[in-house]
């Protein structure tokens, strides 16, 4: 078969293969699919497109493209996680590259023919499936290559998802400007070019990824004989994992952490302009969004790496305690209180670093609790919390803002309420994290003992 090179057996690393070749493979995938966070650069150009009959799309209709993509990310991650465990990361990455690249091409056709349905199908559904497959595909492989530092390894990959928008945004803007100046259809040509470029870049990941040999371990690394309270000595199958209270506690934790982050990210530019009226220009507000992007990316790597030393529970304890305090005090930095832009930006940046850190630390938390056997599949199912937060978060934020605007109340007064609701949500996450205990023996996979990684005690 022509695609036999994708088989798990064909991707087993030869002896001497450096594990430091694996993070670039994972990053190639995550830097590509992270483009989804920069989809907003297409919003205004799509709004300006007109069909043959003069019809145009509205903002709400265009907004659904991103929502569909994120929904299908969660759905495909949940559905295909167990298949990925059998098929291996290389095949999953290959299909992710095909779906993500083809999504752009179909969306390009939709832009050419002014068919929103084709854009929904292409970028939303097919591209979204590529997002889900790509997001979970390198996670368990990285954990196997870095049993001594699983947080650092998954943090490196998932940092790429945060950084993808920093590449995808300017890439799309520059390509659209180029094609426009050349007198060519800017959106369709840009989408086709990006689809091709991302496919090639993701194929670098496909060809570079390797799974370690079953008996492989890092040179000189001796698994700890000390058993930390939460680190599992046994594996739990995905079919059992989601029946455990631990899975649902982590689901709640990811859900509240993401919802709280969306509370700021959803309205970052208008929020800082409303809270510092006349002081922050629209251009400066874009700068604020840029700072949040950088901290979102950096937080993924830094917090996940820190979790290798202070433990996953300790890291989430920090997110929920420090995060709740910061969310509570953030509105007090505004113009009619402390009136400090640097303080506001510093608090918001720290909060967003923890939003990113939550994404990057959760795979290692799952590995601690359920072992590495089915961690991709379990991670895939847990990502439904992200999809749920992607719906609930904007509903809370936009619902409150609409209420204030419709009742002619000052919009800037809505933000403290929104941020204090997010503070309350983090308190719920704090309680959920406190309740996490080791997985009960009845859920263990029989005869699948694993070594205990030398991680931090919880």
């Amino acid at each position: 078969m022509g695609l036999a090179f994708l088989d798990r057996d064909r991707s087993i690393a030869p002896s001497g293969y450096s594990r430091w070749l694996v993070p670039p493979a994972a990053l190639a995938i995550h830097l590509s699919i992270g483009q989804v966070y920069a989809f907003s650069v297409f919003k205004n150009p799509l709004l300006a497109l007109h069909g043959a009959d003069g019809s145009a799309w509205n903002l709400k209709e265009i907004g659904y493209i991103f929502s569909i993509a994120i929904a299908f990310l969660g759905i495909s991650a949940a559905l295909f996680g167990a298949w990925l465990e059998r098929a291996g990361p290389r095949r999953a990455m290959f299909y992710a590259a095909i779906c993500f690249g083809a999504g752009f091409f179909i969306a390009s056709l939709g832009a050419s023919t002014h068919s929103l349905a084709l854009i929904y199908l292409g970028y939303g559904v097919i591209g979204g499936i590529g997002l889900g497959l790509g997001y979970i595909s390198p996670v368990s492989t990285l954990i196997k290559w870095f049993p001594d530092r699983p947080g650092l390894a998954t943090g490196l990959a998932i940092m790429g998802f945060g950084g993808g928008a920093m590449i995808g945004g300017p890439l799309a803007s520059n390509l659209m400007a180029h094609f426009k100046n050349a007198g060519q259809p800017s959106i369709p040509y840009t989408m086709m070019t990006m689809g091709a470029l991302y496919f090639i870049f993701m194929m670098f990941g496909v060809f570079t990824i390797r799974v370690p040999q079953p008996d492989w371990k890092p040179a000189g690394w001796v698994p700890s004989t000390k058993h930390a309270a939460l680190i599992s000595t046994h594996n739990v199958a995905v079919t059992e994992a989601w029946k455990t209270p631990q899975f649902w506690l982590l689901w709640v934790m990811l859900f509240v952490n993401v919802t709280a982050g969306i509370g700021i990210l959803e309205q970052a530019a208008p929020m800082i302009q409303d809270l510092f009226k006349g002081k922050i220009t629209p251009v400066a507000a874009v700068g604020f969004v840029g700072i949040l992007s950088i901290f979102n990316m950096a937080g993924r790597f830094l917090w996940a790496s820190v979790s290798d030393f202070i433990g996953r529970k300790g890291t989430y304890f920090t997110f929920f305690v420090l995060g709740a305090i910061l969310y509570f005090f953030l509105p007090f930095a505004r113009q009619d209180k402390i009136n400090s832009v640097p303080l506001f930006v510093a608090i918001a940046a720290l909060v967003i670093s923890m939003y990113g850190g939550g994404f990057a630390t959760i795979p290692a938390y799952l590995k601690d609790l359920f072992g590495g056997f089915n961690v991709s599949a379990i991670h895939g199912r847990l990502l439904t919390a992200w999809s749920a937060a992607g719906i609930i978060g904007p509903l809370i934020v936009n619902g409150i803002l609409d209420h204030y605007v419709e009742n002619k109340m000052p919009k800037e007064d809505a933000y403290p309420l929104i941020l204090h609701i997010m503070c309350g949500l983090l308190v719920i996450g704090f309680i959920a994290n406190l309740l996490v205990r080791a997985v009960d023996e009845k859920y263990w996979l029989k005869d699948q003992n694993v070594v205990v990684p030398a991680g931090a005690a919880h």
Binding site: P14, S15, G16, Y17, S18, W20, L21, P24, A25, L27, A28, L31, G160, G163, M166, I167, G168, G169, P170, L171, F201, F204, T208, D215, F276, G278, K279, I280, T281, V283, A284, A285, V286, G287, F288, V289, G290, I291, S293, I294, Q335, D336, K337, I338, N339, V341, V345
Partner: protein, 55 residues
């Protein structure tokens, strides 16, 4: 396990090249974003409209 004396290990050049493939576009995007981020501190409204006494 294979004999470490006969095992072919990954070339450091190959490892560096693999990292360069992902770092170069990331650095380009980071630079672009940093340029935008700096506008927060260089592009502010005039003090006359900005100054309000805190309550």
């Amino acid at each position: 396990m294979a004999d470490p004396n006969t095992t072919k290990t990954s070339s450091p050049i190959l490892i560096a090249a693999a990292w360069a493939i992902v770092i170069i576009p990331t650095a380009w995007g980071l630079n672009y974003t940093m340029q935008n981020a700096l506008k927060l501190f260089t592009s502010t409204a005039t003090p006359a409209t900005a100054q309000q006494s805190p309550k």
